[in-house]
């Protein structure tokens, strides 16, 4: 099962390697790890998507808590958070296919950020599931390159919110 963890860390050099080193040492599998500064410039947030059972996630939480610059660890529970991922997708777009791809982009709410004679680059910020849908739609045209940031997540305050 996939779990999303939010880890607040002190914004010091070397912290990322202390956290990422833990995964290999304790044999944890992670799908993605995204880091960025928070509203407090002294603190960064890491959003980690990990694969494992309850035992693994409990251990992961506890081991992360032992890393000195780690301030707080939270595992989000299904439905309590909004998660998004930013991706850039470069897709083949010969002149005769350009309109088709633009239609898909419009339908999926992706932005076209670069166009060349043979390719188009789409910027897409949404959930992992919707990213996969977009990829399925674009695959027939030939995807050249995908760049993904990894998931970031935030806790929901309202109950009514688009997931």
């Amino acid at each position: 099962m996939k779990y999303t963890l939010s880890v607040l860390v002190e914004n010091h050099p070397g912290v990322l390697s202390k956290v990422s080193g833990l995964f290999s040492r304790r044999a944890f599998n992670i799908d993605s790890l995204a880091v960025g500064i928070t509203e407090d410039p002294g603190i960064s947030r890491m959003t980690i998507v990990a694969d494992g059972d309850e035992y693994v996630i409990e251990q992961l939480e506890k081991q992360l808590n032992k890393v000195i610059p780690v301030i707080k660890v939270r595992t989000y529970t299904e439905g309590d958070y909004i998660s998004r991922e930013l991706s850039l997708i470069k897709v083949n777009s010969p002149t005769n296919k350009r309109l088709d791809i633009m239609k898909i982009a419009e339908l999926m709410e992706a932005r076209i950020v670069d166009v060349s004679v043979n390719t188009m680059t789409l910027q897409f910020a949404d959930t992992v599931e919707r990213f996969e849908t977009l990829c399925d739609l674009l695959k027939p045209y030939g995807i050249r390159e995908i760049v993904r940031t990894g998931t970031v997540a935030i806790e929901k305050d309202s109950v009514v919110s688009r997931k």
């Binding site: 860390v9 002190e10 070397g14 390697s17 202390k18 080193g21 833990l22 040492r25 035992y55 409990e58 251990q59 506890k62 081991q63 808590n65 032992k66 890393v67 000195i68 610059p69 780690v70 301030i71 707080k72």
Partner: protein, 539 residues
């Protein structure tokens, strides 16, 4: 103006450090140069790994933070095994390494190694210092982190230019504030209540005590708790010494190399109270079997240890001393007599007479005898291999200590650790027991002992093989002794004498005892070589 090197030394003085163990090199020279001008004693070990082991022996003997120092590159790398050994046994160390100039860091210059990177998975925390002004805060934090919560080694890597740069003045902070590091030391009252209820319901309880009991200074409380309730105690290897071996409530060390009575007790218990023990595989090979018939109360300062290896019914996070005090206040329980009698009969049933060989010292009975000859507060340091098992199971500890590399099982630990222990506790008997394999890994430290005139006693169990693996080969590899025969074992007596250290060779228990008495009477170091038959079993 004050230099980084001077600040480093001043920080050590602020932390009341009186001894450091180290080995110099170009980029740690500014530090040693300033240290030289102070009354902090710098002990020159003969290999950096031993600096960490000696600091570990020192830290354990005094319940303080041990300090070891090495230069960059190979010096720091040599120290890694010692650091990892301390990490596995939760020993508080501050390890200081010199580093190449910060402006050439990362360019693979002479004697450059990324030591903070290399040590990441076996230090509690590490620092690569980039600014001289940060040294006081970093040292303050390092000593705090090493010694509080679950103790462990902290590494400070200091580039040489950070040591030579000067700042206006030295101010040592009186407080630390690390937002992500606030270990909980008091047990949660609700959990303690639940634990006491669970104890009240149990018919066959047992306490399993580990190294955490000793490192938190909870030994007297544990004994009080056991005596008040009559709950019998087994210990892990790291927990040896929590109770005197002859205490009727003490069953022995558990585990694959432990006492059968201790294992049978745990496997028949309906409640296991884990106290500062991490349920390592060598202590409990099949934790799943234990939890099938027993509830588990796990008390530990490190929340990550609870539930890691054994399913826990009641977890209690806190310092062992506090938690036991909290429990002692309200506990009202008496262990059923049948259970205690049952354990007594197991103790008698599984007691084994060791098999002796003509012309050789029988190590198990000799170790048992040795425990009667040393002072009651003696510090016994066992190495790794068969000698460790002989000592763990047969040394009858009283009020002293038992040190060994329990978690990492690092050969060559005993001699340098004994050096540290003796410097920490000069008035106590300090005895290192090692094999001829492990002794040869620590040989250069004879020079340290000779130079420092340390009254350390070394007993070498000379069986000319790497006994533990040899035994394994007998059982599982058709007695094919692949690379376990030492063959050219040097004459350890002559070797010791060449360092100016007295030595003797014993080929029977009578001789061994005679020399032991002689050795303990002397106020000089001594190496006693015991001729042991290679087929002597571990258990």
């Amino acid at each position: 103006m004050i230099s980084g090197a001077e600040i480093m030394v001043k920080c050590l003085q602020q932390e009341n450090v009186s001894v450091v163990f180290g080995y110099p090199g170009a980029v740690i020279c500014p530090f040693f140069d300033y240290l030289y001008k102070t009354d902090i004693k710098a002990v020159l070990v003969r290999q950096e790994q031993n600096a960490a082991h000696s600091a570990s022996g020192y830290a354990r003997a005094l319940s303080t933070v041990g300090v070891c120092v090495a230069t960059s590159g190979p010096g720091a790398l040599n120290m890694i095994t010692g650091i990892a050994t301390a990490y596995m046994d939760s020993i508080p160390l501050v390890c200081i390494t010199g580093q190449v100039r910060s402006d050439v860091l990362g360019r693979d210059v002479f004697q450059e190694a990324d030591i903070t990177g290399a040590c990441e998975s076996f230090v509690k925390h590490s620092y690569l210092v980039k600014d001289t002004a940060e040294l006081p805060r970093i040292f303050k934090e390092a000593f705090h982190i090493a010694s509080t919560g679950r103790p462990g080694p902290v590494l400070i890597d200091v580039p040489v230019d950070v040591q030579t740069a000067e700042i206006e003045e030295f101010v040592y902070p009186d407080k630390v504030n690390i937002i992500g590091y606030k270990p909980s030391v008091k047990g949660h009252p609700m959990q303690i209540k639940r634990a006491l209820e669970m104890i009240a319901e149990s018919k066959r309880p047992v306490i399993c005590a580990g190294g955490g009991v000793l490192s938190s200074g909870a030994k007297p409380r544990l004994r009080e708790f056991s005596e008040k309730t009559g709950i019998p105690v087994v210990s892990t290897m790291m927990g040896i010494g929590v109770m005197p071996s002859d205490d009727p409530l003490y069953v022995g060390m558990l585990g694959s190399h432990g006492k059968k009575a201790a294992n049978v007790t745990v496997h028949n218990a309906d409640l296991v109270i884990l106290c500062g023990a991490r349920v390592g595989d060598r202590a409990v090979a099949s934790p799943d079997q234990v939890v099938e018939h027993a509830n588990v109360i796990h008390i530990d300062i490190d929340p990550a240890e609870i539930g890691k290896n054994m399913k826990t019914t009641v977890p209690i996070v806190g310092d062992m001393k506090n938690v036991l005090s909290q429990m002692l206040k309200d506990v009202d329980y008496t262990t059923p007599g049948e259970w205690k009698q049952q354990i007594e009969s197991w103790k008698a049933e599984f007691a084994k007479e060791p098999e002796s060989f003509e012309g050789f010292v029988e190590p198990k009975s000799f170790i048992a005898r040795l425990s009667k000859l040393v002072h009651t507060k003696a510090i016994m340091v066992a190495d790794v291999g068969q000698n460790q098992i002989w000592c763990a199971n047969n040394y009858r500890i009283k009020d002293g200590r038992f040190f060994t590399s329990g978690g990492m099982g690092t050969m060559g630990y005993s001699v340098p650790a004994a050096v540290g222990a003796k410097l920490a506790r000069p008035s106590r008997d300090v005895v290192a027991v090692c094999g001829d394999g492990s002794f040869q890994m620590a040989l250069p430290e004879l020079a340290t002992i000779a130079v420092e005139k340390l009254n350390v006693k070394i007993i070498v169990m000379r069986n000319t093989v790497l006994g533990m693996v040899h035994e394994l080969q007998d059982k599982h590899y058709g007695s094919r002794y692949a690379v376990t025969e030492l063959e050219a074992v040097p004459d350890f007596v002559k070797l010791a004498q060449s360092y100016g250290i007295d030595a003797a060779f014993a080929s029977s228990n009578e001789e061994a005892e005679m020399y032991t008495k002689q050795m303990l009477r002397s106020d000089k170091p001594f190496v006693l070589v015991c001729n042991v038959h290679p087929n002597t079993s571990s258990i």
